[in-house]
């Protein structure tokens, strides 16, 4: 496993944002000059309250929306300039995975794998991955309309794995997963990291973030107010830190300046 600290110059980040800003049509500044980067083999966890801008960041990577300023970059590709090329390198799991209710899990997997450019999978391949994400075999041939939210989430994760993309975007991927499935998912993430994937995930689960992330970024009102490497978090109470940053940022300007120093 390579960490950016060892060879900071030679490794090109798989995902990065440069001065990324987004102001929605109604005037809300959802993202304010965001700079972050995720290297291959790294897990970056974005924390932050509701409306902090996490989903906006992910949507910008996928070019669902265009940036007002700056850019999101995947493997050197500026996403809003060459969205198709960039999307070929991203696997994505949304916070509420929605699939075709009239298709079975296998049919959904097959369809989305084809869209992702993977055309040579067999039914066994799909089944293997479904088992890996914790979906029991008897569910594989059931229509998605009968799935629970957690089961759909697992399906979405399976689709992301099957795409085998170097960059993975996860928007609150564990929402709806039961504790056992959540734990299995953490193991899965670690496996993917060990395969060299760059993973950017948003989450509200501070405990898991601390457990699995190489970098934790804390966002507030569209700004990255803190960024901690794994080493810096050892022995730290991330929850306390999070609350501190969230409230501190809002309360006093002094602490906000501290925060931006940390970021820089």
């Amino acid at each position: 496993m390579t960490t950016p600290e060892n060879t900071p110059e030679t490794i090109q980040p798989m995902m990065a944002t440069r001065n990324l800003s987004k102001r929605y049509e109604d005037g809300v500044l959802a993202l304010d000059s965001l700079d972050l980067s995720v290297n291959p083999g790294q897990i970056y966890a974005m924390l932050g309250g509701n409306g902090a801008g996490k989903t906006t960041t992910i949507n910008l990577f996928l070019n669902f929306i265009d940036p007002t300023e700056g850019e999101a970059i995947v493997d050197g590709i500026i996403t809003h300039q060459e969205p198709l090329k960039a999307k070929a390198k991203i696997a994505y799991v949304s916070e509420n995975v929605m699939l075709y209710p009239n298709f079975t899990a296998l049919q959904n997997l097959d369809y989305f794998s084809h869209l992702g450019g993977k055309t040579s999978y067999s039914a066994e391949d799909y089944q293997k991955v479904l088992l890996r994400v914790g979906l029991q075999e008897e569910a594989h041939d059931k229509k998605l309309r009968s799935y629970s939210k957690g089961m759909r989430q697992k399906c979405g994760i399976a689709i992301a794995i099957l795409k085998d993309a170097p960059a993975i975007l996860l928007d609150e991927p564990t929402s709806g997963l039961d504790p056992k499935a959540g734990m299995e998912f953490i193991n899965l993430l670690q496996d993917l990291r060990d395969e060299g994937k760059a993973i950017l995930m948003s989450t509200h689960d501070i405990f898991r973030a601390k457990q699995v992330a190489d970098i934790v970024g804390i966002m507030n009102a569209g700004k990255l107010v803190a960024e901690k490497q794994r080493e810096e978090l050892v022995g730290e109470d991330l929850e306390k830190l999070y609350v501190e940053y969230m409230t501190g940022y809002m309360d006093t300007a002094v602490q906000a300046t501290d925060a931006s120093v940390t970021v820089g």
Partner: protein, 489 residues
Amino acid sequence: MLKTLIYKELKMIIASPKFTATFGTCAVLILLSIFIGIQEYRGAVRQYETAVQLNDQEMAESTSWGSFDTRVFRQPDPMQIFVSGIHYDVGRMTGISRWEEIKLRRSNYSDDPIFAVFRFIDFTFIVQIALSLLAILFTYDAINGEREQGTLKLTFANPVPKVTYILSKFIGAWLGLVIPLLIPILIGLLLVMLYNLPLTGVHWAKIITMLGFSLLFFTFFIAFGLMVSALTRSSSSSFLILLVAWVTLVLIIPRAGVMLAGQVQSVPTVAEIESKHAKFSQERWDQHSALISERYEKRNAAMEGLSPEDREAYEEEKMWSWMEEDDAEMKNVQADISEYGRKLQEDLRNRRAAQEKLAFLLSRVSPASAYQLAMMNLAATDINLKNRYEDAMRDYRTAFNGFVNKKLEDSGQHGGFRISISSETGVNIDTGDIDTKSLDLSEVPRFEDPRHSYSAAITPAMTDLALLIFFTLIAFAGAFSGFIRYDVR
């Protein structure tokens, strides 16, 4: 990529529960309309043949060229199975004689009420009403439904070009709906062949062209549904918009165009024309009788003071010239009246033509009207059906009367009859018949139904073809540009 997307569309359409229901309904409707159309056509042919036979028999029984007349009938055309058009509203026979004008009478062959019920559910009606609804039903949520469902986001997290996606939606819906619909259509055509209807090569060429027009019309509604779906965020709003648009395009505009044209360009009714004509003739006859009485006064004045003997001699001498004079005047009046009637008719025809033109122009704003007009032209059940027949019948009348007159001359007979009264023989009505043997009918000209060639069918339909293509392309362009800007979240 395109293949994957299209394949998925097909699967979604065919696996959807609404497919079975709607497709079943449409298939049954198509087959039923063709089947009933065939039955009705065959019934019409039987009636036509009986009527022609009866007429032939009556002709064979007549013994005098002087009172010889006939009737001609409009032959049923198998195309009416697919497009009844104005077929049922045009009379089916006219008398042909020297004293009768051409006038198509008795507008329906069939007295069977079941046909009256199903009359207007012909193939064109089904395409126009049912299939356009079907197209809308399967496209109204093509784009925004996927957004609501959340699948659009996951799809576009992959390297899928938007143009490819909307194209796949279109091709998928087209294949998914057209191919199943072709099955009942082909079965229907097979049925037509099994019944061995007299379909010529021209008929088949027209049928294939009609099928092409139907597909084009259907394609418009698919593109239209996609367009509205790609321009709205929620499927409930696109459904509502499409329903209103459908009612407007299919139900309102075709009728409103005709009604509006009726307001703008008025056409006198037959009653109005007739009362105008009657008034003119009344005036003309009044004028005439005034003239005649004036004349008699003059004539009497000229005889003033003559002795009764001289008076008789004078009258005897003038009798013939007076009679000729009066006769000429009467003929004058008759000529004036019929000339006035002709003018009225011509004016009526011109105004009707102008109204029709305006009505069609207005209603062609809707592809449904363009489609129907094209189909009627192709099937020869269009608005000119009556004129075509009346012209052909008029030509036939000229030939028929020419033939009869020649026969009369040859045989030394005269037309009409002569009543002579003598004290020896009493009243004698002479119809001019010398012998009462039956006539030689082998040379009597036969009526031939007016031909309607393929080019006569397709030429007026070209405007509608161009319009339908234009409407479809506009809908396409709208769907494309709407979707390129579509927010997939």
